[in-house]
């Protein structure tokens, strides 16, 4: 089979599928006797990628394979096709999802320890229904809590090829950097002087003006805050 036909078949299948196809699925488009070697399929995919440059769509490789997708920069216009605005997710849901994504596998209790609040069952249920997370096992402690991990669908949805592509987590500062000067400020206190600048003032902590932003509240804001 010539490479041009292979390319067309792969391209046509990806367009018709309307979802990601992995190499194995692409290979299965061909019968045993006509199936090109994997290298040739990969070469076809590369060529398709090149051909699609500068167009309204691109070939993208995500967790579960290759798919055609419409360019991100066109979203403003494309979204006008639909009346409904794209859904927003609550902070609670995003924080829970992020913890599972970065710390998997982990239990609901693990999430609660970091977030400092109970994780609602509703959130876990929604994430499972969206097939973004799944139970991958149970921790061997009393109660056998379920261990959650993210799925390929999660990666696909967020345009990621693997978990490595997640944005880097913020660094944690070493506690040895704890400012020893604070010991001083504890014995003293921070206050504002008349110029609005912070200075160290000796005194008991309780008796001290500390909130710098209260200084910034201007009387004209009252109309907004009080009515």
């Amino acid at each position: 089979m010539n490479s041009d036909l292979i390319k067309k078949i792969v391209e046509g299948a990806l367009m018709a599928a309307g979802k990601s196809l992995d190499i194995t699925q692409i290979e299965r488009l061909f019968t045993d006797d006509e199936r090109p070697p994997r290298d040739q399929i990969k070469a076809a995919l590369e060529e398709i990628d090149t051909d699609s440059r500068g167009r309204g769509f691109e070939l993208k490789q995500t967790a579960s394979g290759y798919r055609f997708q419409v360019h991100q920069e066109l979203a403003t216009w494309v979204n006008r096709l639909w009346e409904e605005k794209p859904k927003r997710y609550s902070r609670a849901m995003l924080e829970t999802l992020s913890l599972i994504a970065y710390r998997q596998p982990l239990t609901r209790g693990d999430i609660e320890v970091v977030r400092g609040v109970a994780v609602s069952s509703e959130i876990i249920k929604t994430l499972q229904e969206r097939e973004w997370i799944r139970v991958v096992g149970y921790r061997d402690v009393p109660g056998k809590p379920a261990l959650f991990a993210t799925t390929k669908q999660f990666l696909d949805y967020f345009n990621l090829k693997s978990l490595d592509d997640l944005p880097a987590l913020g660094e944690i500062k070493d506690l040895t950097e704890l400012d020893p000067a604070l010991e001083l400020t504890l014995a003293q206190g921070v206050a504002s002087n008349d110029d609005g600048e912070e200075t160290l003032v000796v005194g008991m902590p309780e008796s001290i003006e500390i909130k710098p932003e209260t200084v910034q509240v201007e009387p004209k804001d009252d109309s907004q805050t009080h009515e």
Partner: protein
């Protein structure tokens, strides 16, 4: 950060101003010329009656925070402080200010907020304790645990915002599809291996043998067993018509077995047999000793 979030933030900030004003209103008698002044160690318990707080403002505050850690982070960041620089005494004061305000208007407060208040108070008291120079080496900073948790929470708070920013299916990117070519719906034939054929034949032959031998066993009726069954039928000490002992559905073999059983019972003197007239109905009765 999403628009929704920022709108909540805006409200929050307004509400905070309301709280700050509440704070200053309480302190107004002390320092009239400087409205945003000092709290002299007094806990805030009563809302000034003349202070207007937008309805639901505090609920909005509470909803805007993802728990005590989030509220603490907010208080710290509001002062442009690094987490490592937190002044526990001041943060505790502000935190308690919020808690007091919320409880004073009977807002239902998650237990976690109160737990955090207790923790802050404990850290504060430990910080205030005068320490021996020698002890300082090995004693851990009382804030360490709190700072660790705050840092950890902040990382994931940030991660959640980053994840929210990722190009997302249906919002930033869209699956591209083209109409598929016409489908021909003919279903392909299943593959059959010749081994399957041979195995199937072996199965069917084996089963038919089993079927035959099974039938033969069915026909083997025990005379002894039938004798017991007849005795069972005669249990009530009544005369039973001889013909009623037979079950025609059992066929010839069944009838023969029953007949043999009755003969055997007579021979063993277990039953008596009565015929009141020639060619009249025969009756059978269990013998009473």
């Amino acid at each position: 950060m999403s628009d929704q979030d920022s709108s909540i933030k805006t409200k929050t900030t307004e509400s905070n101003q309301a709280i700050n004003l509440a704070v200053s209103a309480v302190n107004a008698p002390l320092q009239e010329e400087m409205p945003f002044a000092v709290i002299q160690g007094k806990e805030l318990t009563i809302l000034p009656k003349d202070l207007y707080i937008p309805p639901d403002a505090l609920e909005v505050i509470l909803e805007a925070f993802e728990g005590p850690l989030d509220l603490l982070l907010y208080l710290i960041r509001r002062q442009n402080l690094d987490i490592l620089d937190i002044d526990v005494a001041e943060i505790t004061r502000q935190y308690l200010g919020y808690i007091e305000l919320m409880t004073s208007i009977q807002l239902e407060l998650a237990a976690e907020y109160l737990v955090m208040a207790a923790m802050l108070a404990e850290i504060k008291s430990r910080m205030l304790l005068p320490r021996q120079q020698a002890e300082e080496e090995d004693e851990e900073d009382p804030r360490a645990e709190l700072i660790k948790r705050l840092q950890e929470y902040e990382r994931f708070k940030q991660a959640a915002e980053d994840v929210d920013e990722l190009p997302r299916m249906g919002r930033d990117i869209h699956q591209a599809t083209s109409e598929a070519p016409d489908r021909d719906q003919q279903r392909p034939h299943p593959d059959v291996d010749i081994k399957e054929l041979v195995t199937a034949l072996a199965d069917v032959l084996k089963r038919s043998e089993m079927f035959e031998s099974h039938q033969v066993e069915m026909e083997k009726l025990s005379t002894r067993e039938r004798m017991s069954q007849v005795m069972e039928n005669l249990r009530d000490n009544q005369f039973v018509p001889f013909v009623a002992l037979f079950t025609l559905e059992e066929g010839r073999l069944g009838v023969v077995v029953t007949f043999l059983a009755v003969m055997e019972l007579i021979k063993e003197s277990l039953v008596e047999i009565v015929q009141s007239e020639s060619f009249g109905p025969i009756h059978v009765k269990a013998k009473t000793s």
